[in-house]
Amino acid sequence: MSEPRFAPGAQVTVATRRPACHHRAPAYIKGHTGTVERLCGIFGNPETLAHGGDGRPPQPLYRVRFAARELWGPRAERDGDTVEVEIYEHWLEAAS
Protein backbone atom coordinates (compact mmCIF):
# COMPACT_ATOMS: atom_id res chain seq x y z
CA MET A 1 0.00 0.00 0.00
CA SER A 2 1.41 3.34 -1.03
CA GLU A 3 1.09 6.62 0.84
CA PRO A 4 -2.28 8.37 0.59
CA ARG A 5 -2.36 10.25 -2.72
CA PHE A 6 -4.42 13.24 -1.65
CA ALA A 7 -3.90 15.91 0.99
CA PRO A 8 -6.62 18.03 2.61
CA GLY A 9 -7.64 20.76 0.17
CA ALA A 10 -7.03 18.63 -2.94
CA GLN A 11 -9.69 18.78 -5.64
CA VAL A 12 -10.89 15.29 -6.54
CA THR A 13 -13.42 13.79 -8.94
CA VAL A 14 -15.38 10.62 -8.16
CA ALA A 15 -15.33 7.78 -10.70
CA THR A 16 -18.57 7.05 -12.55
CA ARG A 17 -18.26 3.25 -12.70
CA ARG A 18 -21.06 1.03 -11.44
CA PRO A 19 -19.62 -2.24 -10.19
CA ALA A 20 -22.11 -5.03 -9.61
CA CYS A 21 -20.53 -5.84 -6.23
CA HIS A 22 -21.26 -4.17 -2.89
CA HIS A 23 -19.62 -0.74 -2.87
CA ARG A 24 -19.92 2.32 -0.70
CA ALA A 25 -19.74 5.18 -3.18
CA PRO A 26 -23.29 6.61 -3.36
CA ALA A 27 -24.60 7.28 -6.86
CA TYR A 28 -25.29 10.95 -6.23
CA ILE A 29 -21.59 11.88 -5.98
CA LYS A 30 -20.36 9.87 -8.98
CA GLY A 31 -18.77 12.10 -11.60
CA HIS A 32 -18.78 15.10 -9.24
CA THR A 33 -15.82 17.11 -7.99
CA GLY A 34 -15.20 18.07 -4.38
CA THR A 35 -12.48 19.00 -1.90
CA VAL A 36 -10.67 16.58 0.40
CA GLU A 37 -11.63 17.61 3.94
CA ARG A 38 -9.44 15.09 5.79
CA LEU A 39 -7.85 11.68 5.60
CA CYS A 40 -9.85 9.42 7.95
CA GLY A 41 -7.40 6.51 8.00
CA ILE A 42 -6.66 3.36 6.05
CA PHE A 43 -9.25 0.60 5.99
CA GLY A 44 -10.01 -2.75 4.38
CA ASN A 45 -11.73 -2.43 1.03
CA PRO A 46 -15.47 -3.15 1.57
CA GLU A 47 -15.83 -4.26 -2.04
CA THR A 48 -13.97 -7.49 -1.26
CA LEU A 49 -14.72 -7.68 2.49
CA ALA A 50 -18.44 -7.88 1.69
CA HIS A 51 -17.92 -10.90 -0.54
CA GLY A 52 -15.77 -13.13 1.65
CA GLY A 53 -12.48 -11.50 0.64
CA ASP A 54 -9.74 -10.05 2.82
CA GLY A 55 -10.17 -6.35 1.96
CA ARG A 56 -6.61 -6.14 0.60
CA PRO A 57 -5.03 -3.95 -0.45
CA PRO A 58 -6.40 -1.59 2.21
CA GLN A 59 -7.59 1.78 1.00
CA PRO A 60 -7.06 5.29 2.32
CA LEU A 61 -10.46 6.73 3.26
CA TYR A 62 -11.15 10.44 2.82
CA ARG A 63 -13.95 12.80 3.70
CA VAL A 64 -14.73 14.82 0.58
CA ARG A 65 -16.77 18.01 0.75
CA PHE A 66 -19.10 18.74 -2.16
CA ALA A 67 -20.99 21.98 -2.74
CA ALA A 68 -24.72 21.24 -2.74
CA ARG A 69 -24.89 23.31 -5.93
CA GLU A 70 -22.33 20.97 -7.58
CA LEU A 71 -24.42 17.92 -6.69
CA TRP A 72 -27.95 19.18 -7.23
CA GLY A 73 -27.69 22.21 -9.53
CA PRO A 74 -30.78 24.41 -9.32
CA ARG A 75 -32.45 21.97 -6.89
CA ALA A 76 -29.95 22.90 -4.17
CA GLU A 77 -31.60 24.96 -1.46
CA ARG A 78 -28.85 27.53 -1.08
CA ASP A 79 -25.34 28.47 -2.16
CA GLY A 80 -22.83 27.61 0.54
CA ASP A 81 -24.53 24.39 1.68
CA THR A 82 -22.33 21.31 1.55
CA VAL A 83 -22.54 17.52 1.68
CA GLU A 84 -19.55 15.63 3.07
CA VAL A 85 -19.09 12.00 2.12
CA GLU A 86 -16.56 9.31 3.08
CA ILE A 87 -14.97 7.78 0.03
CA TYR A 88 -12.10 5.37 -0.59
CA GLU A 89 -9.09 6.42 -2.63
CA HIS A 90 -9.64 4.03 -5.53
CA TRP A 91 -12.81 5.98 -6.38
CA LEU A 92 -10.97 9.30 -6.66
CA GLU A 93 -8.89 11.01 -9.32
CA ALA A 94 -7.23 14.42 -9.18
CA ALA A 95 -9.71 16.88 -10.70
CA SER A 96 -8.67 18.05 -14.13
Binding site: R24, C40, L61, A76, G80, T82, V83
Partner: protein, 217 residues
Amino acid sequence: MSGGHEHGHDHDHPHPFQPDDDAGGLTEHMALVAAVRELLIEGGIYSAEDERRAIERMDARSPAAGARMVARAWVDPAYRERLLADGAAAARELGVEVGPTRLIVVADTAETKNVIVCTLCSCYPRWVLGLPPAWYKARAYRARVVVEPRAVLAEFGTQLPDGMAVRVHDSTADMRYMVLPARPEGTQDWDEEALAAIVSRDCMIGVALPRADAKAA
Protein backbone atom coordinates in the same frame (compact mmCIF):
# COMPACT_ATOMS: atom_id res chain seq x y z
CA MET B 1 -71.76 0.24 15.42
CA SER B 2 -70.11 0.64 18.76
CA GLY B 3 -66.83 1.36 20.47
CA GLY B 4 -66.07 4.38 18.26
CA HIS B 5 -65.42 2.05 15.33
CA GLU B 6 -67.15 3.63 12.36
CA HIS B 7 -67.08 2.90 8.72
CA GLY B 8 -70.65 3.06 7.69
CA HIS B 9 -71.34 -0.64 7.12
CA ASP B 10 -72.08 -3.77 9.09
CA HIS B 11 -69.40 -6.22 10.01
CA ASP B 12 -70.24 -9.05 7.66
CA HIS B 13 -66.76 -9.38 6.19
CA PRO B 14 -63.34 -10.06 7.72
CA HIS B 15 -60.92 -7.17 8.11
CA PRO B 16 -57.55 -7.55 6.43
CA PHE B 17 -54.83 -7.89 9.03
CA GLN B 18 -51.71 -5.77 8.90
CA PRO B 19 -48.95 -8.30 8.17
CA ASP B 20 -46.54 -8.95 11.02
CA ASP B 21 -43.00 -7.66 10.44
CA ASP B 22 -41.65 -11.21 10.53
CA ALA B 23 -44.44 -12.81 8.51
CA GLY B 24 -42.28 -13.29 5.43
CA GLY B 25 -40.89 -16.68 6.45
CA LEU B 26 -37.27 -17.67 6.73
CA THR B 27 -34.94 -16.23 4.10
CA GLU B 28 -31.68 -17.94 3.13
CA HIS B 29 -29.69 -15.48 5.22
CA MET B 30 -31.95 -15.85 8.26
CA ALA B 31 -31.50 -19.62 8.06
CA LEU B 32 -27.74 -19.14 7.81
CA VAL B 33 -27.69 -16.88 10.90
CA ALA B 34 -29.80 -19.37 12.86
CA ALA B 35 -27.50 -22.24 11.87
CA VAL B 36 -24.28 -20.38 12.79
CA ARG B 37 -25.82 -19.33 16.10
CA GLU B 38 -26.73 -22.93 16.94
CA LEU B 39 -23.24 -24.13 16.07
CA LEU B 40 -21.58 -21.44 18.22
CA ILE B 41 -23.77 -22.30 21.19
CA GLU B 42 -23.44 -26.09 20.76
CA GLY B 43 -19.68 -25.69 20.40
CA GLY B 44 -19.52 -23.82 23.69
CA ILE B 45 -18.14 -20.60 22.13
CA TYR B 46 -20.81 -18.67 23.99
CA SER B 47 -24.13 -19.44 25.63
CA ALA B 48 -27.63 -18.31 24.74
CA GLU B 49 -27.56 -16.34 28.00
CA ASP B 50 -24.33 -14.57 26.90
CA GLU B 51 -26.03 -13.59 23.67
CA ARG B 52 -29.19 -12.39 25.40
CA ARG B 53 -27.12 -10.26 27.78
CA ALA B 54 -25.13 -8.77 24.89
CA ILE B 55 -28.34 -7.76 23.10
CA GLU B 56 -29.76 -6.32 26.32
CA ARG B 57 -26.56 -4.32 26.84
CA MET B 58 -26.63 -2.96 23.26
CA ASP B 59 -30.29 -2.03 23.52
CA ALA B 60 -29.67 -0.25 26.84
CA ARG B 61 -27.33 2.33 25.32
CA SER B 62 -28.93 5.74 25.27
CA PRO B 63 -28.41 9.31 24.07
CA ALA B 64 -27.61 10.25 27.68
CA ALA B 65 -23.99 9.33 26.93
CA GLY B 66 -23.76 11.76 24.02
CA ALA B 67 -25.58 14.43 26.03
CA ARG B 68 -22.98 14.21 28.81
CA MET B 69 -20.23 14.75 26.24
CA VAL B 70 -22.00 17.78 24.76
CA ALA B 71 -22.63 19.33 28.18
CA ARG B 72 -18.98 18.85 29.17
CA ALA B 73 -17.85 20.47 25.90
CA TRP B 74 -20.10 23.46 26.64
CA VAL B 75 -18.52 24.12 30.03
CA ASP B 76 -14.94 23.06 29.33
CA PRO B 77 -13.24 24.56 26.22
CA ALA B 78 -10.26 22.20 26.51
CA TYR B 79 -12.60 19.18 26.51
CA ARG B 80 -14.40 20.65 23.49
CA GLU B 81 -11.11 20.73 21.59
CA ARG B 82 -10.32 17.13 22.50
CA LEU B 83 -13.87 16.09 21.51
CA LEU B 84 -13.50 17.67 18.07
CA ALA B 85 -10.01 16.21 17.61
CA ASP B 86 -10.90 12.61 18.58
CA GLY B 87 -14.51 11.87 19.52
CA ALA B 88 -13.88 8.30 20.65
CA ALA B 89 -11.02 9.26 22.99
CA ALA B 90 -13.10 12.09 24.45
CA ALA B 91 -15.99 9.68 25.03
CA ARG B 92 -13.74 7.23 26.90
CA GLU B 93 -12.46 10.12 29.00
CA LEU B 94 -16.01 10.44 30.43
CA GLY B 95 -16.31 6.69 30.93
CA VAL B 96 -18.45 6.24 27.80
CA GLU B 97 -17.46 2.96 26.15
CA VAL B 98 -17.44 3.24 22.34
CA GLY B 99 -15.89 -0.06 21.29
CA PRO B 100 -14.20 0.18 17.89
CA THR B 101 -16.13 3.33 16.84
CA ARG B 102 -14.23 6.05 14.99
CA LEU B 103 -16.27 9.05 16.07
CA ILE B 104 -16.15 12.40 14.29
CA VAL B 105 -17.87 15.20 16.21
CA VAL B 106 -19.00 18.15 14.11
CA ALA B 107 -19.67 21.47 15.83
CA ASP B 108 -22.49 23.86 14.99
CA THR B 109 -21.57 27.55 14.95
CA ALA B 110 -23.46 30.79 14.45
CA GLU B 111 -22.91 30.31 10.70
CA THR B 112 -23.24 26.54 10.20
CA LYS B 113 -25.69 23.78 11.08
CA ASN B 114 -24.58 20.14 10.86
CA VAL B 115 -26.85 17.18 10.23
CA ILE B 116 -26.09 13.47 9.97
CA VAL B 117 -27.41 10.77 7.66
CA CYS B 118 -26.37 7.44 6.19
CA THR B 119 -27.76 7.41 2.64
CA LEU B 120 -26.52 3.88 1.89
CA CYS B 121 -27.95 2.08 4.91
CA SER B 122 -28.39 3.29 8.49
CA CYS B 123 -24.93 3.76 10.06
CA TYR B 124 -25.46 5.49 13.40
CA PRO B 125 -23.28 6.24 16.45
CA ARG B 126 -25.06 3.64 18.62
CA TRP B 127 -22.44 3.63 21.35
CA VAL B 128 -23.13 7.30 22.18
CA LEU B 129 -26.76 7.71 20.99
CA GLY B 130 -28.31 4.27 21.50
CA LEU B 131 -30.60 2.73 18.89
CA PRO B 132 -31.49 4.91 15.88
CA PRO B 133 -35.05 6.18 15.51
CA ALA B 134 -37.14 4.53 12.79
CA TRP B 135 -37.18 7.71 10.68
CA TYR B 136 -33.38 7.80 10.55
CA LYS B 137 -33.45 4.43 8.78
CA ALA B 138 -36.34 5.37 6.48
CA ARG B 139 -35.74 5.91 2.79
CA ALA B 140 -37.53 9.28 2.89
CA TYR B 141 -35.10 10.82 5.41
CA ARG B 142 -32.01 9.27 3.79
CA ALA B 143 -32.97 10.36 0.29
CA ARG B 144 -34.26 13.82 1.13
CA VAL B 145 -31.92 15.26 3.75
CA VAL B 146 -28.94 15.41 1.38
CA VAL B 147 -30.98 17.30 -1.24
CA GLU B 148 -33.24 19.55 0.83
CA PRO B 149 -31.97 19.64 4.42
CA ARG B 150 -33.77 22.89 5.24
CA ALA B 151 -37.12 21.47 4.18
CA VAL B 152 -36.50 18.32 6.24
CA LEU B 153 -35.41 20.29 9.32
CA ALA B 154 -38.49 22.51 8.98
CA GLU B 155 -40.66 19.37 9.14
CA PHE B 156 -38.94 18.58 12.46
CA GLY B 157 -39.90 22.10 13.62
CA THR B 158 -36.38 23.48 13.18
CA GLN B 159 -36.22 26.76 11.27
CA LEU B 160 -32.74 27.94 10.36
CA PRO B 161 -31.83 31.61 10.07
CA ASP B 162 -31.27 32.81 6.47
CA GLY B 163 -27.54 33.33 6.85
CA MET B 164 -26.79 29.84 8.11
CA ALA B 165 -25.12 27.21 5.90
CA VAL B 166 -26.06 23.54 6.24
CA ARG B 167 -23.44 20.82 6.26
CA VAL B 168 -24.84 17.35 5.70
CA HIS B 169 -22.54 14.49 6.71
CA ASP B 170 -23.17 11.23 4.89
CA SER B 171 -21.85 8.35 6.99
CA THR B 172 -20.96 6.11 4.04
CA ALA B 173 -18.04 4.10 5.40
CA ASP B 174 -16.00 3.59 8.58
CA MET B 175 -16.68 6.84 10.49
CA ARG B 176 -19.59 7.61 12.78
CA TYR B 177 -20.80 11.14 13.49
CA MET B 178 -22.32 13.17 16.28
CA VAL B 179 -23.34 16.83 16.18
CA LEU B 180 -22.12 19.17 18.90
CA PRO B 181 -24.94 21.72 18.91
CA ALA B 182 -24.43 25.34 19.90
CA ARG B 183 -25.13 26.13 23.57
CA PRO B 184 -28.44 28.00 23.67
CA GLU B 185 -28.94 31.49 25.06
CA GLY B 186 -30.19 31.67 28.62
CA THR B 187 -28.13 28.76 29.99
CA GLN B 188 -25.09 30.71 31.25
CA ASP B 189 -25.61 29.73 34.88
CA TRP B 190 -26.58 26.11 34.33
CA ASP B 191 -24.54 23.22 35.62
CA GLU B 192 -23.52 20.27 33.47
CA GLU B 193 -26.39 18.07 34.56
CA ALA B 194 -28.99 20.69 33.70
CA LEU B 195 -27.30 21.30 30.36
CA ALA B 196 -27.20 17.60 29.49
CA ALA B 197 -30.95 17.37 30.14
CA ILE B 198 -31.77 19.65 27.18
CA VAL B 199 -29.49 17.80 24.72
CA SER B 200 -31.80 15.30 23.07
CA ARG B 201 -31.01 12.56 20.59
CA ASP B 202 -32.36 14.68 17.72
CA CYS B 203 -30.07 17.57 18.69
CA MET B 204 -27.07 15.25 18.27
CA ILE B 205 -28.34 13.91 14.92
CA GLY B 206 -28.72 17.55 13.96
CA VAL B 207 -32.42 17.84 13.15
CA ALA B 208 -33.27 19.79 16.32
CA LEU B 209 -31.70 22.53 18.42
CA PRO B 210 -31.37 22.47 22.20
CA ARG B 211 -33.54 25.10 23.85
CA ALA B 212 -33.29 26.62 27.29
CA ASP B 213 -37.09 26.40 27.66
CA ALA B 214 -37.28 22.72 26.67
CA LYS B 215 -37.05 20.15 29.42
CA ALA B 216 -36.05 16.75 28.12
CA ALA B 217 -39.00 14.38 27.76
